[in-house]
């Protein structure tokens, strides 16, 4: 495949990153998708919109998040200097709120009076419910019944924040079905409703829009690493479910040839077992939820369920820009198993006094492999995109500990 002039110029006007992306939605939604695109194009060029975003990012989310040199961990791994981008210190404990803030500001600008969202682990649902409380908009969150059962604390948080959480029993009752149900709601309530999608997927302009909101992560890292080290990092590492935290970290660095970039998918029980969530390592291109991308699917093109100890990575697709970066070879996508992520989770607690979410524990599991192969002068930046409080029950269960 021919190397593009820039890796940062996508998508094209019709929302494609190479052959990926696009707008595969029902006609009922199409006029609305075009409205969102128009509004987004205006907002992104409006200094007033950026001022609003920056204000809440600083005073409400707590940005910029620190870039922290994890010394003990680096020592233990015995190779590259490892930095954590501390997006787990954001209000609500993950990177998700960068995006929900941006989208709710857009929804207000469009005069929408009702917000809907899908959620898997509940992190995006909590981040959406949070900004809806902040801006006093009614919020409906669709969540698979299976996920509701295993993420009770987040369900309660959303309710405390005033959101209505609607259990989804259709299909496999997980994140993909929650997204189907949110799309069904949107089709039925197009006039007043804005759909806040939680990752860099969905029909154009969502993948690009969510990426741009999350790029605050990578933009900050560029400044922070220049201050700390006077140069760019040698490698970036982030975990990938839909891929929004990764896209946010990666995008500002895509044209810096010296920066190696690694996306870490969830291999669950192992790619070879078929029980995993690694769309790139173990899936094929297809069309779902408004975009063409790599998907987990069977021989008949039916979507199959993802499996991961991390509910946030448990999605059978991936953002279309990742699919493109995979095909053109700019980003290297790897996968780590549940067991490897658990080991990394414990390592992070023990060496840094940080309980990470299981999602970035996947990124750390790859850093564990990568850092020792690098010299002590080299620098790795990993996105620590969420804190682990939500996961302590799942980890206890996996470790066979009764609480």
């Amino acid at each position: 495949m021919q190397k593009p002039e820039s890796y940062r110029s996508g998508p094209d006007e019709s929302g494609h990153f190479g052959k990926f992306g696009g707008r595969f939605v029902a006609e009922t939604l199409m006029p609305l998708i075009l409205d969102v695109e128009r509004a987004w194009n205006e907002a992104r060029n409006d200094p007033g919109f950026k001022r609003d975003f920056d204000f809440y990012a600083e005073h409400y989310i707590g940005r910029p998040s620190p870039l922290y040199h994890a010394r003990r961990l680096s020592e233990e791994l015995g190779g590259a200097k490892v930095y954590f981008k501390r997006d787990e210190l954001n209000h609500t404990g993950a990177h998700k709120i960068n995006n929900t803030l941006g989208q709710i500001l857009l929804a207000r600008r469009m005069g929408k009076t009702r917000i809907i969202a899908e959620t898997g682990a509940g992190q995006h649902g909590v981040a959406t419910a949070t900004v809806c409380a902040l801006f006093n908009l009614p919020c409906v969150v669709y969540m698979g019944a299976t996920d509701i059962a295993r993420q009770a604390p987040n369900v309660f948080r959303m309710k405390l924040l005033g959101a209505e959480v609607i259990p989804v029993h259709s299909g496999t009752a997980t994140l993909k079905d929650a997204m189907n149900e949110a799309l069904r709601d949107w089709v039925a309530n197009v006039e007043e409703t804005f759909y806040i999608i939680g990752t860099v997927a969905g029909p154009h302009p969502y993948p690009a829009m969510v990426r741009d909101f999350q790029s605050v992560i990578g933009d900050e890292v560029r400044e922070q690493i220049m201050r700390a080290e006077g140069r760019l990092p040698d490698a970036l590492v982030a975990c990938i479910g839909g891929g929004s935290n990764a896209m946010g970290l990666f995008h500002p660095f895509l044209d810096d040839e010296g920066v190696s970039i690694y996306g870490v998918e969830a291999a669950g029980d192992g790619i070879e077992t078929g029980r995993h969530a690694a769309s790139l390592s173990g899936g094929e291109p297809g069309v779902l939820h408004g975009n063409r991308t790599y998907l987990l699917q069977n021989d008949d093109g039916q979507i199959i369920d993802a499996h991961s100890i991390s509910a946030g990575l448990d999605y059978p697709g991936i953002g279309p820009e990742h699919s493109w970066l995979h095909d053109v070879g700019r980003v290297e996508y790897v996968a780590v198993t549940d067991a490897q992520a658990l080991e990394a989770f414990k390592l992070c607690c023990r060496t840094e006094g940080i309980i990470p979410a299981l999602e970035p524990a996947h990124a750390l599991a790859y850093v564990q492999q990568l850092a020792p192969t690098m010299s002590r002068e080299e620098i790795v930046v990993m996105n620590l995109c969420g804190r682990g409080d939500k996961d302590v029950f799942a980890v206890a269960e996996a470790l066979g500990v009764e609480l």
Binding site: V25, T28, P31, V190, D300
Partner: protein, 278 residues
């Protein structure tokens, strides 16, 4: 001067209906629901009971535009081993008994994408499929399947909705053939119903933009509704109400009872009677 012979089953069917001065009854069922054999028996019973056009749903794991009734039908079919290839096989088999009734496949793009769009279209032509309705392929993605389908003479039937405004409508109608399917409500299949007056105005608006027949669907479930909407539209689509009947006549293990086909036939016959004003 002799009139040009209409090229397709679908065009011949609408020509015949115009001669009879009545609207078409379009019936939707999910292929292979609740299992491939029973599903085929249901599919085969529709035209005999009076359906003019058959829409056959291609089961998909993630049917974003469908309500619970059609979602569950798809799940039943998939659980019983239905596949896209078997759906095509059933159309081929159906053609052995009926080479007149148009059969339109309706569904979502991914199974076709996975099958290979070109191979799928070749197989569809060979099986005797007359048209396609692919919910998640809007005009913006016409290069995917619309253009190659029309090049093979398969009708590309597009959905128009209450949100399709006058500025957008001409674009939506370009590359639409066979008929236009007007989705009369904002929402998914089998849920709410539109007001008669809204539908009448919508059909008039469409007619001012196209000469194609206009079918109206979503939320139509009784002979009374069929009669009313049939008075303003060229075709009336009934789907979830028939699929519900299938669901109601299954035992706990999803096996059909002995009266399922009769129940479906009686209901379809009552809908057909409504298109004939009888």
């Amino acid at each position: 001067m002799t009139a040009r012979k209409p090229a397709s089953r679908l065009e011949r069917r609408f020509e015949q209906l115009r001669a009879e001065s009545r609207p078409a009854l379009v019936t939707f069922v999910t292929a292979g629901d609740p299992d491939p054999e029973t599903g085929f028996a249901v599919f085969s019973s529709l035209a005999r009971a009076g359906a003019d056009i058959i829409e056959l749903g291609m089961p998909f794991s993630d049917p974003m535009a469908d309500g619970p009734v059609v979602q569950e039908a798809g799940q039943r079919a998939l659980a019983a081993g239905m596949t896209l290839r078997k759906t095509l096989d059933q159309v081929r088999r159906y053609r052995e008994q009926d080479d007149e009734t148009p059969v339109i496949l309706m569904g979502y793009y991914n199974p076709i994408h996975h099958f290979g769009p070109e191979s799928f279209l070749d197989a569809a032509v060979e099986a005797g499929v007359d048209g396609l309705i692919i919910v998640d392929l809007p005009v913006e993605e016409d290069d995917e399947l619309c253009h190659p389908a029309m090049a093979r003479g398969i009708h590309w039937i597009r959905l128009a909705t209450p949100t399709t405004d006058d500025a957008r409508l001409p674009r939506v109608l370009t590359n639409t053939s066979g008929f236009v399917y007007y989705v009369s409500v904002l929402g998914v299949t089998g849920t709410r119903s539109a007001q008669d007056e809204e539908i009448r105005r919508a059909v008039e608006r469409l007619k001012s933009h196209t000469d194609l027949p206009i079918a109206v669907g979503f939320g139509i479930r009784s002979p009374e509704q069929v009669a009313k909407i049939g008075a303003v539209a060229d075709a009336v689509v009934v789907g979830s109400a028939i699929v519900s009947l299938v669901a109601e006549n299954l035992d706990a293990d999803k096996r059909p009872n002995s009266v399922l086909i009769d129940k479906v036939s009686d209901f379809v016959a009552s809908l057909a009677a409504a298109t004939r004003g009888t």
